[in-house]
């Protein structure tokens, strides 16, 4: 008699283990299909090239550069993210795998797994786009450490914000429009903070206390905690 075999093994399961399983599966699927990464990178690279050719390093006055470059950088990053990050949940809905995932994993583990996946995509996006932007636009940054911390913390916030919105819109029709419409008000405070922080890093204003980074980190923490509470309500019928 096999009774008890399954119950003893399931006891060792943790949220993190389940989340890691979902993250690894999403990565494996993404490597094979390249749905999200293609959408994000195509948007990011074409926008970056368009911006660098049309504006370039010489058409903006030195005084306006730090602010305008920060705005352009975050427009590219945010809208590239919006073009592909909803795929993490939408593809489950489209493939009909949402229910099998509901039956297999706990809601919080699903959220964390999808969050890790979106953060991986965003990390790859930032690794390619930020250095390319700095090189192509000849973006001078006085405080590189602060700039890096700002980019990373705001990237984490972008991932956390878009993941919960992606979960909300996955079962709706007109997902693309809804994703952008719902994400924008949620991401707006983060964008403003990230732009201000990057401008401060470029100008060389004293980043004592790293206020923008602290705001972005607080945003990430609040967004993740709120999402972990809200996600089970979204995830269930």
């Amino acid at each position: 008699m096999k009774s008890g075999r399954w119950i003893t093994q399931t006891e060792s399961s943790t949220y993190l283990n389940e989340a890691m399983a979902i993250w690894l599966r999403d990565l494996r699927s993404e490597f094979r299909t390249r749905y999200a990464i293609n959408a994000i990178l195509m948007f990011a690279v074409t926008t970056l090239i368009a911006v660098s050719f049309s504006i370039g390093a010489f058409r903006i006055g030195e005084a306006e550069k730090p602010f305008l470059y920060a705005v352009l950088l975050w427009i590219i990053l945010v809208f590239s993210a919006l073009s592909g990050l909803s795929r993490s949940f939408v593809k489950e809905e489209e493939a009909g795998t949402m229910d099998v995932l509901r039956l297999s994993a706990r809601p919080q583990a699903v959220f964390l797994g999808k969050l890790f996946f979106n953060l991986t995509l965003l990390g790859a996006l930032e690794l390619i786009i930020v250095p390319s932007f700095i090189l192509l636009m000849e973006y001078e940054i006085q405080f590189p450490g602060f700039f890096a911390a700002m980019t990373i913390s705001a990237g984490l916030g972008l991932g956390a914000g878009t993941t919960i919105v992606a979960a909300m819109i996955a079962q709706a029709s007109a997902r693309g429009a809804l994703f952008s419409a719902l994400s924008f008000p949620l991401l707006f405070p983060l964008m403003i903070t990230a732009i201000k922080g990057c401008e401060r890093a470029a100008v060389g204003m004293d980043p004592a206390g790293w206020p923008e980074v602290r705001i972005a980190v607080a945003y990430v923490i609040i967004m993740i905690i709120m999402s972990l509470f809200l996600f089970p309500l979204i995830w269930e019928e």
Partner: protein
């Protein structure tokens, strides 16, 4: 024998103002098989989805207990395996990768030999490394059975288990159902006489 019980009390389901079914009650214990039949649209699949916790009932309760302790709704997934036409597997993964994922996500330690053994039972060993997108609909149905049996659940929910299966596949379903009788409970939703005949009791949702 697993000591798991299922109790369904006064279950009702409305979609908008349309009544799907009402006052469905039954108890199921170890070794029992319940058949659910009814016209198309009578709510067979919905009833199974409510038992699985995928859909909320409009009224009534589903309770599961294990060793005399009630199982909370969010833990119910550990105790059941489900096969349904609407449950799809990951097409961009191989059959074995799918099974590895379901083991890990359910907290069952991944044992390749165990997975291959279950795949052998449904006749899929040779195709274990094939992408699921290259599977025929019958092979996908067999793989869904593997997915449902992977954690050896005490409650098996089978929604049209013979769907897309050839005669060999149907025999496999018969074997699985009779083996499950020794390990736990089964609920089969179908209009196929042969599948409903496995059941000890039948609830007809059209009545």
């Amino acid at each position: 024998m697993s000591t798991c019980y299922l109790k369904v009390s006064n279950l009702c389901k409305y979609y908008s103002s349309t009544l799907l079914f009402k006052e469905i009650s039954f108890k199921l214990g170890p070794g029992e098989i319940l058949g659910i039949t009814g016209w198309n649209g009578s709510g067979k699949s919905t009833l199974l989805r409510i038992i699985a916790g995928l859909v909320r009932p409009s009224a009534g309760q589903v309770e599961m207990s294990y060793k005399d302790e009630s199982i909370p709704k969010d833990s119910r997934r550990k105790f059941l395996g489900m096969v349904a036409p609407a449950l799809a597997l990951y097409e961009e993964l191989t059959a074995l990768e799918n099974m590895e994922f379901f083991c890990r996500v359910r907290g069952v330690s991944y044992d390749r030999k165990h997975c291959l053994h279950i795949m052998e039972r449904v006749g899929l060993t040779e195709h274990a490394h094939k992408m699921c997108r290259n599977y025929s609909s019958g092979m996908k149905q067999r793989l869904k059975l593997v997915q449902a049996l992977l954690h050896e659940p005490p409650l098996l929910l089978l929604d049209e288990p013979g769907c897309n299966l050839d005669s060999k596949g149907i025999r496999i379903v018969e074997e699985i159902t009779s083996e499950q009788r020794r390990f736990g409970m089964t609920v089969i939703a179908s209009n196929e006489k042969r599948e409903v005949d496995y059941a000890d009791r039948v609830i007809n949702l059209s009545e």
